[in-house]
Symmetry: C2
Subunit: 266 residues, 2 copies
């Protein structure tokens, strides 16, 4: 399976131009599965809810989803992208996966970061996995990485590849994902954006460094910190079905779930 990331540098608010550029990059790639960053067509630093309302879209009825469903079919590729979702009077920081077969899957970020809490509603649906060409795919978004429960649950549900659209500004996640992949023996594609956004006297610098990691914690490929680029690697997703960390240690069989209940009782 050929999987990869499309590391982008969207211009805030220029949705059509951002989509066009992403499309041009995808048009040049042969892959089975591509992951784009979080909120990668709108930009990240919304001034307020009015601005967000102008840029967010209904799902599945918005034009961005329609465009990428068509592109997935045309290019015969599964595409995961972050999107600002409007649903009734609420906004969600969401990720979609579209497939060549016309399927659409929607995840709403469970763990919002900083000022996202002022704009978005926290995800209100369970974590789930997608059966894509015989491989199970899990979706999470950016700051979800710091909660070990997220990759754990996706992996326990059978996910072999974690698709992780991100807008990272802090230096911790890329390294943490090595441990996430090791402890769950899964692949992860973390796609970050690059560039800066300055709005409301606040400036954010996104650190790129998108990466693909394998179930042994090896970083198979890693992008630059400062420019747009796409990379595709060939992987065997079935490696993620083998939970043996050593010949005697199957990480699933070794779990002592009778001793884990405090996770739910804090």
């Amino acid at each position: 399976m050929r999987v990869g990331f499309v590391q982008l540098e969207p211009v805030f608010g220029q949705k059509d131009a951002n989509i066009k550029k992403a499309t041009q990059m995808i048009d040049k790639i042969d892959a089975d599965l591509l992951v784009l960053p979080e909120l990668c067509f709108t930009g990240y630093l919304f001034k307020d809810k009015d601005e967000l309302e102008n840029l967010a879209e209904k799902i599945p009825d918005g034009p961005t989803v329609e465009h990428f469903l068509n592109l997935a079919k045309k290019r015969n590729v599964g595409i995961v992208f972050g999107i600002a979702e409007r649903c009734e009077n609420n906004f969600y920081n969401s990720a979609c996966m579209v497939t060549p077969e016309g399927e659409l899957f929607l995840y709403r970020k469970l763990h919002l970061f900083m000022e996202e809490k002022d704009l978005f509603k926290s995800g209100d649906k369970k974590l789930f996995v997608i059966d894509f060409k015989g491989t199970k795919i899990g979706l999470m978004i950016c700051f979800d990485w710091i909660f070990p429960e997220v990759v754990r649950i996706l992996s326990l549900k059978g996910a072999q590849i974690i698709c992780h659209p991100s807008n990272l500004i802090l230096p911790y996640c890329q390294n943490a994902m090595v441990t996430r992949c090791l402890e769950n023996r899964v692949f992860a594609i973390t796609t970050n954006r690059t560039g800066k956004e300055r709005r409301n006297e606040k400036e954010l610098h996104f650190i790129g460094s998108s990466q693909v990691i394998d179930p042994s914690g090896n970083v198979i490929t890693k992008a630059s910190s400062d420019h747009e680029e796409a990379r595709v690697v060939k992987i065997d997703p079935d490696l993620a079905k083998d939970k043996k960390f050593t010949p005697q240690n199957d990480l699933w069989e070794d779990r002592r779930i009778d001793f884990y209940s405090e996770i739910l009782t804090k």
Copy 2:
């Protein structure tokens, strides 16, 4: 609070000599809390259960615990050490904490590594925290590191410092503990041993590199990979009570426990 590790290189089976050397090192240190490696008086590579039976001890009635209870009192220091425990007809890979007040706490490793499964019974008691001089201490042993549930649960129970006696041979744990400390905002003292053991035509090389990490994921101090040494650092354990990763992100308040139940249902 002055906390640290005593990185040792025990000689297999030379329990008295190993205890003597550890004692001499501790006698030279001023600290409030010291962590020694896993199985640090017996050595690690037991040929069989008969050999283990000769070296394991009852707890609290064995001479090693008695010795370290006296030493804790004499030196006014809390001491955590790994020990081979015999209890009726079972053996456990255990950790003790002894305090100057004469208290003894016992943890039995929940997740056994490789051939340990042939010798030891898996831990059969819940994870717990110890109130020590106003600071909450959690105990875990070596391979427990790869199960994110362990540090998570200890931290949710209030642990501010994770004491982590180890006999590490693989290169992953030291880096993973950075993420464990970040995701739970706790301190961790991972004490590893050094040297080689060759028995039954099997050779293990222990990689040292004991370390103390703070709740922001900084490695405060780190030992060599190849020789015995003790290090003590001054820390403020109350930093681990603040679970704010950003001003708007308290890692405890942000948890979405309604969405985590799959951890217990695999």
